[in-house]
């Protein structure tokens, strides 16, 4: 759904930017494919609390500032 990553006409060499090993958003690897989506969701599935309804219902906070 996110579609094509934006190309970045404003990028200049030597700019303070992403840490060196982070992928360039304009690079080919940044395009969202089905496998990547499945991977992301699968990983999140693995850490989610098992009973969503109870988790949400029981998450109650006192107001702060």
């Amino acid at each position: 759904m996110a579609g094509q990553e934006q190309t970045r006409p404003h990028r200049r060499d030597g700019e303070p930017d992403d840490l060196p090993d982070a992928p360039d958003p304009g690079a080919a690897t940044a395009q969202v494919g089905d496998t990547e989506v499945d991977d992301v969701l699968a990983e999140i599935d693995g850490v989610l609390e098992t009973n969503s309804e109870e988790f949400v219902r029981s998450f109650v906070q006192k107001g702060g500032q």
């Binding site: 970045r8 700019e15 303070p16 982070a22 992301v40 999140i44 850490v47 906070q61 006192k62 702060g64």
Partner: protein, 509 residues
Amino acid sequence: MTVRRVMGIETEYGIAMPGNPVANPMVMSGQVVTAYAQSQGIRPSRVLWDYTDEAPLRDARGFEMPRDAADASQLTDEDPTMANVVLTNGARYYVDHAHPEYSSPEVTSPLAAVRYDRAGDAIAAASVALTAQWPPALAMYKNNTDGKGATYGSHENYLLRRSTPFSRVVTGLTPFLVVRQVMCGAGRVGIGAASAQPGFQIAQRSDFFETEVGLETTLKRPIINTRDEPHAVADRYRRLHVIIGDANHADVANLLKLGTTSLVLHLIEAGAMPDTLGVRNPVGTLHEISHDPTLRTRLEMTDGRRMTALELLREIQQTCVEFVQTRYGGDVDSDTAQVLHWWERVLDSLETDPMSAHRYLDWVAKLRVLEQYRDRDALQWDSPRLGAIDLQWSDVRPDKGIFARLRAAGRVTELVRADEVEQAVSEPPSDTRAWFRGECIRRYRDQVVAASWDSLIFDVGGTAPLRRLPMLEPTRGTRDGVGQILDASPDALTLLERLAAPEGDTGIQ
């Protein structure tokens, strides 16, 4: 210096015992803070907070509110026995009513603010890990609402010159804060303070703001908070206390939150922020913009123009860029260059396709994941699964927090390395009084009796009276200014003598 000024972030964390909605949050908060303090060899009862200069009821508009007219939640010295410690990185970690709160040390750049904010998250995660030894488990959340009507804040602090008229701050900052959320919102499932309406909105906090200007922080929340408690030389400085922001996980969003605000404040202080950018109904507009993740809603300006939030933000950005270019040309400091770079990059992304900013902005990253779940599992916005993702997004545990997992997988842009965060957990920033504070805690641990933002109280031993050292100048007490004195002082008494000596030029006051 444009984005650079003394600044800091204070974050109230959500806290819960999964499976036990009635667990006492004050007790839980005390447990996590105490567990962490003890693990650092700081006895929570030993280094007390010095409340002498706290004045939360003082209003920037020029009057103090009598204590008996104040709501109990406006008074900050109600529970002096609750855990409240100063850490070796100069931060304050304590219980603020029903939440653990981490108040970062004073820094001078947006990037350092991000680094020390992430240090707070690491401290929160360490606290949770410590208490996990004794089930049932606790969890902490870096978010701003339970979706049931309660909200808690991540506040920014900016040091301003006292000479800047407060009315100018209100006029210049209000429209900016109304639209800043399109970059800095953390995203939220549910519309309305109690999430009565299904859907997704850009900001966690916007629904809870009801007024334009005011002193309150726990009800009738104002876009501009007028609290006047500088913790510094009062006739020189004002501390602007911004309460409207969401807690950010994404480094770019966090950098832009501190950096663009500091830049706008710079223009306001210079008298260069146009007063033609007024928004007709700031509170209503704040809500409307938050409720429209397509960013297409057009707001009404006081001069009759209609524009989108992005167009107004772009206009503010252009004003800032032109000001910097005119005044500094190519000679702009690297912190400002960094903020301008990311401001441009993010606005370009949002203007092209908001979802393309998913590596930079919290709300976009969250919406992207939620939409992927909706597609895959055919979920409606009122599905508890989406609400659960929203909450667990901000779990501070690196193995359970959804944002933390995304970051570990390289799916969001980082501006601060893990080793830099680790260093910031234990070492104070070198260029503010936080350095002196943190180093004294580290070097003279048993001799520091109490600490606050603008003071330290020492027990020099024997039958001598306690010695209170005021530190009202946030830019003094740096490593450059007093490092040698500390290195030459094996104990607090020697330190105080050297600071008081004529040639010591106390780099503190």
